[in-house]
């Protein structure tokens, strides 16, 4: 009997699983270079204007940033948990975990929006009434340009991730995955961990300069 889960180009489910996993790793390599170009630009400008970047970074909302870091880390943990128990055959509970992770993603986006609003009121967002007094105005403009572009692109990735987790969570609730067949969940999980990891880098680059002493 032909297996309905097997796409026609593959020999067996194992090959299908391997292909999906390698595919997402190659895609993540692309993503690394995508964010890498942006982070390179940041490093260049920060090395030219270290004092200005340190001062500008003091205006970021570290409490919100730290909370968001904790939120994404927790959601990543839930996803890792979900993938592990699916391999053990507990896919239904895994669905709940994925939904919880997606919910944390929504909280992240909400807090990010709050942060943008506060910064907008303080005239810190380039292109949206930026106004920064003092000698480091130019460096601060560059810093907040990077901040806006990097966190904006990251938020788009989070939003996509939330949608993916929600759908995969639903499929898991319908018992579509099992110990032998869980490639979509592994792939979604790897993507989510990557988005989380990007945030860890952004957190260090955006919130921490000049705060270490």
């Amino acid at each position: 009997m032909p297996d309905t889960r097997l796409a026609e180009q593959f020999v067996d489910l194992r090959q299908q699983h391997d292909v999906a996993e390698l595919g997402i790793w190659v895609f993540l390599a692309t993503e690394v270079l995508f964010f890498g170009g942006l982070i390179l630009a940041y490093c260049v400008y920060r090395s030219i204007q270290p004092a200005g970047f340190a001062e500008a970074a003091h205006h970021t909302k570290i409490v919100i940033g730290a909370a968001n870091t904790a939120i994404l880390m927790t959601s990543s943990f839930l996803v890792a948990w979900a993938v592990t128990i699916t391999k053990l055959g507990e896919a239904r509970f895994a669905g709940l975990l994925l939904w919880a992770a997606a919910l944390l993603g929504l909280v992240f986006i909400g807090l990010k929006g709050l942060e943008y609003t506060l910064e907008y009121r303080e005239h810190l967002l380039p292109g949206l009434g930026f106004d920064y007094p003092g000698q480091h105005a130019i460096a601060a403009h560059l810093f907040f340009s990077f901040y806006l572009v990097a966190t904006g692109l990251h938020a788009v990735h989070v939003a996509i991730g939330i949608a993916v987790l929600a759908v995969i969570g639903r499929r898991a609730r319908q018992a579509a995955y099992s110990g032998a067949c869980h490639a979509p969940m592994t792939v979604a999980g790897l993507y989510w961990h990557f988005v989380d990891l990007v945030w860890v880098f952004l957190f260090a680059l955006i919130y921490l300069p000049g705060r270490s002493g």
């Binding site: 796409a7 026609e8 180009q9 593959f10 020999v11 090959q15 391997d18 292909v19 390698l22 595919g23 190659v26 895609f27 390599a29 692309t30 993503e31 270079l33 995508f34 964010f35 890498g36 170009g37 942006l38 390179l40 630009a41 260049v44 400008y45 204007q49 380039p126 292109g127 130019i138 460096a139 403009h141 560059l142 340009s145 990077f146 806006l148 572009v149």
Partner: protein, 540 residues
Amino acid sequence: MNSRVFHPKSYLREGFTLRSWLTTRDHKRIALLYMISITAFFFLGGAAATLIRIELATPAGDFVTDETYSKLFTLHGVVMVWFFLIPSIPATLGNFIVPLMIGARDLAFPRLNLASWYLFMLGGVVTLYAVFVGGIDTGWTFYTPFSTMYSNSHVVLAVTGVFIAGFSSILTGLNFIVSIHRMRAPGLTWYRLPLFLWSLYATSVILVLATPVLAITLLLVALDRFAEIGIFDPSRGGDPILFQHLFWFYSHPAVYIMVLPGMGVVSELVACFSRKEVFGYHFVAWSAIAIAGVGFFVWGHHMFVSGQSPFAGLVFSFMSFIVAVPSAIKVFNWTATLHKGWISYDAPMLYALGFIGLFTIGGLTGLFLACLAYDVYVTDTYFVVAHFHYIMVGGTVTAYFGGLHYWWPKITGRMYPEYWARGAAILIFFGFNMTFFPQFILGIEGMPRRYHVYPPEFQVWHVLSSAGASILAIAYALPLFYLTWSLFFGKRAPDNPWRTTGLEWQTPSPPPKHNFERTPVVKRKPYDFTVKGKARAQNA
């Protein structure tokens, strides 16, 4: 093996509606969708080149205005680079042949493959829209701060189009990498892969790793222009040179995206039409990987006059010489393959030989440009223009036509008319040299690129070049007619018309939807012509 009991239905007969084509996930049909699209873009870019060559026939700017001229060379560059050369061999011939060569039923991700074509078309439509509402005048390189602050043309639209098309490149590369890793037929080890696959693998690595950097760079340009974020704006602390670094980090490897697949095609052709194994298979295979790897560290040779540090210039100059080594290995090994071969001069072989000659000239003049001092002398002159046209047009386009003729019987099930094809191949070779060789001389004598008004003493070379271009235009149009003719009136193609060894020839022409009746089991290396006059198929 060749005595088939019944004829399975060909992929071309799996549905005749437009819908069946536009929703297909069959790699062979997607390859044809790409082929039709890039042919349209090729002739659009060619039309812009024609207008450029007409303008340059006289020293005065009497045919188009300054502004129109800038828009013409930008249109030519953008369309030819991103909408013809980058997808040319990978997305058409590669898409069609890769699954056949590895003995698979399809690529690893058929739906992504179709999505990549739609992204490509969307990017193309956005870019064309930018052209028709007024054009872009920055040159294909979109250099800042001109593109971000001064140009009054539709830069945001154009970079958006290229940005979108970039994702189609990434998806194609991803598909090839995963397919070559995970979908090979039993027995098809890495060292049994035809060299076309090694080349496409190397190309795919560049597509996946370099294209995202272009994407983020163009996004920053658009935001700089649109929202004044100032990343490349000197008045806001930004650095326009950083744009050049990021741009060439993609765009130099992009040269290898364009030429590596051509090298892969030529390896196939030279082996097949010399009836010999490619000399030094391992070296040719690994030189593709070496070119892809080293190619990531030479981008600074586009910036010798940008004010980068002398040390950076030195390193980039050295690395640019290094990347010539694997390229030269390929040329030497193709020539060594010809040595004592049983050579036949069918049209694909004429293209392959043309490629070797033109690529050698393009490569050697590349060494001139890798020299710091000489590059400063000819920067932004026609010497550079001639050099990269030898690589991209003399190299890539020639190889594309060679591969197109070679696999045409497999793709369409029809033979092309041999004598017309040989005539076109020879005409292309002569037309090309007549167009571009004079441009080396113009460059050395000081004619800058991107100018359409020039001193009268340059006219003789420009007239020669324009005359060559008119021959080239006819030569490039010829295949359009005789290949279309062959679709209806060409001789029916046998399964293996060139009597060669690859798996793609061990299935009917044109192949059935699932490529192979039974997954082939590979028993030997490619290019086994050891028994005189006979080819042993890889699965025989």
